[in-house]
């Protein structure tokens, strides 16, 4: 069977690893992305997501350099994104060693870009990243530009539309839960997993081993985790062993692999 994936999510600001709460609060420095990635590699995580959260011309070069360095020593899939707007941007990241490129704001502004990128580089290379926030008790809406701009799109309808535009995977993130370690938005995950035919990676809220189990049981193909790995003693090894012992389909832990 296909394994559920455990994916540390790296947020980069000027080439440094950072982490916030609900996208903007409590900025914390979290170290050097390349050395942290090596540690996670030794922990046997399944994949890495690297997002440049304040993209600029200068940061783009730095991200390319970071991915190049990671891909020299770390042999696992990388999804890289942040400010991706053109086919050249996608190409530069793939050439640097990314396996998948994540597109967020530009897909909303110019849906045909997603289709064009998928046609040029293959559906499996294009991950669409969708950030959403509750705007009323029963409604969530998509936000772009790093959570700054509200757009009148329902996250699940938008995810389905992206599927029609040939994205290969959806990374769905709750802004309300980001960095809070209060658990994933299970209701949204359940709804999204039921209607999407591409793999679903969920992000935002993981703070305990049980949270990851809940999200995977709600239908996610993969859990993206940031704060829990960075700021608690729940390491990827511990999470993997726990999921494995609870009978979830994950790879065997690296200790039993060696």
């Amino acid at each position: 069977m296909l394994k559920k994936r455990l994916i540390p999510k790296f947020l980069l600001r000027d080439g440094r690893l950072v982490k916030y709460v609900r996208f903007f609060e409590n900025e914390r420095a979290a170290g050097n992305p390349v050395t942290t990635a090596k540690v996670y590699n030794d922990y046997g995580v399944d994949e890495l997501i690297v997002l440049d959260i304040v993209p600029s011309e200068a940061s783009r070069h730095r991200v390319v350099e970071i991915i190049e360095r990671m891909s020299e020593e770390i042999f696992m899939p990388f999804t890289v994104g942040g400010g991706v707007k053109t086919l050249d941007d996608v190409n530069a990241l793939l050439r640097a060693g990314a396996d998948k490129v994540s597109v967020n704001s530009e897909a909303v502004r110019r849906p045909e870009f997603l289709r064009e990128a998928a046609r040029t580089f293959g559906d499996q290379c294009m991950t669409v990243s969708i950030d959403y926030k509750k705007i009323s008790p029963n409604h969530a809406s998509v936000f772009i530009d790093g959570g700054r701009e509200h757009v009148a799109l329902d996250p699940i309808e938008w995810a389905r539309r992206c599927e029609d535009l040939h994205c290969g995977e959806v990374l769905l993130g709750s802004i309300d839960r980001d960095g809070t370690m209060s658990g994933y938005d299970l209701e949204m995950i359940h709804r999204a997993a039921n209607v999407l035919s591409v793999p679903l990676i969920v992000s935002g809220g993981c703070g305990s081993l049980q949270h990851a189990i809940d999200a995977l049981e709600a239908g996610a193909s993969a859990v993206a985790i940031s704060s829990m790995f960075l700021f608690t003693d729940h390491s990827p090894i511990k999470l993997r062993s726990h999921l494995f012992s609870r009978g979830l389909e994950v790879r065997a832990s690296s200790s039993s692999r060696n």
Partner: protein, 212 residues
């Protein structure tokens, strides 16, 4: 003979294959040059992208003839990865919109078909880590324990082999997915060993030390 030729047929990201070869302690050369392929001790055909475009590029650069000579006639150890493996089939239905199948190199009596898992809940592409069950042993799987045969897959099409003896291993994804094929000096994987951490590096390392 020196170096490991990674065949360049105009696809984008051969960097990770090159890095993995280097990491295993060998010298990679990304090339479509006849001399470099002739000089290489081992040849790797990586693969990302669409079948039709790949075959067009391979023919335009004369790579099909180079591989025929050095791999099939002279018996150089050869590893094809992902789309590279699919290119060894007779035909592929990828983007065969008008009903005309693309023709491949035809080294294996096999066809490339769209994945059709029998469970509608299974997502396409088949993306992520999956276990490979061995049909038989092969030198590239040496020293990898059965429980560690998890590899990273990402594909929407897969090879159906008509000759069961060609199949070394398969994965399950709502259907049997051909994962490793081999014959003589030729071996191919549907998954990406260069993205499969320890087990993948072990497999690459076995291949680079293989002298069939």
């Amino acid at each position: 003979m020196s170096g490991v030729a990674i065949v360049d047929y105009g696809i984008n990201n051969v960097r990770s294959v090159r890095n993995a070869v280097e990491y295993c302690g060998f010298e990679p050369v990304v090339t479509h040059d006849a001399g470099a392929i002739a000089d290489a001790s081992h040849v790797i055909l990586p693969g990302v992208g669409a079948f039709g475009d790949a075959m067009t590029n391979i023919r335009a650069r004369g790579i099909d003839e180079l591989l025929e000579r050095h791999v099939r006639e002279k018996g150089k150890p050869f590893l094809a990865v992902c789309l590279g493996m699919q290119l060894l089939a007779k035909t592929s239905e990828e983007h065969a919109d008008d009903g005309v199948l693309h023709s491949g190199l035809g080294w294996f009596d096999a066809d490339v078909l769209r994945l059709m898992p029998n469970d509608p809940a299974l997502k396409i592409p088949h993306m992520g880590w999956n276990m490979v069950a061995k049909e038989r042993s092969h030198p590239i799987l040496d020293h990898i324990r059965e429980g560690n045969l998890a590899f990273y897959f990402v594909h929407s099409f897969a090879m159906r082999c008509n000759a069961p003896e060609d199949v070394v291993g398969h994965a399950q994804y709502g259907q049997q997915v051909t994962a490793i094929i081999a014959r003589d000096n030729i071996v191919a994987t549907q998954f990406h060993p260069e993205k499969s951490q320890d087990s993948g590096i072990e497999l690459m390392s076995n291949f680079l030390r293989w002298n069939p």
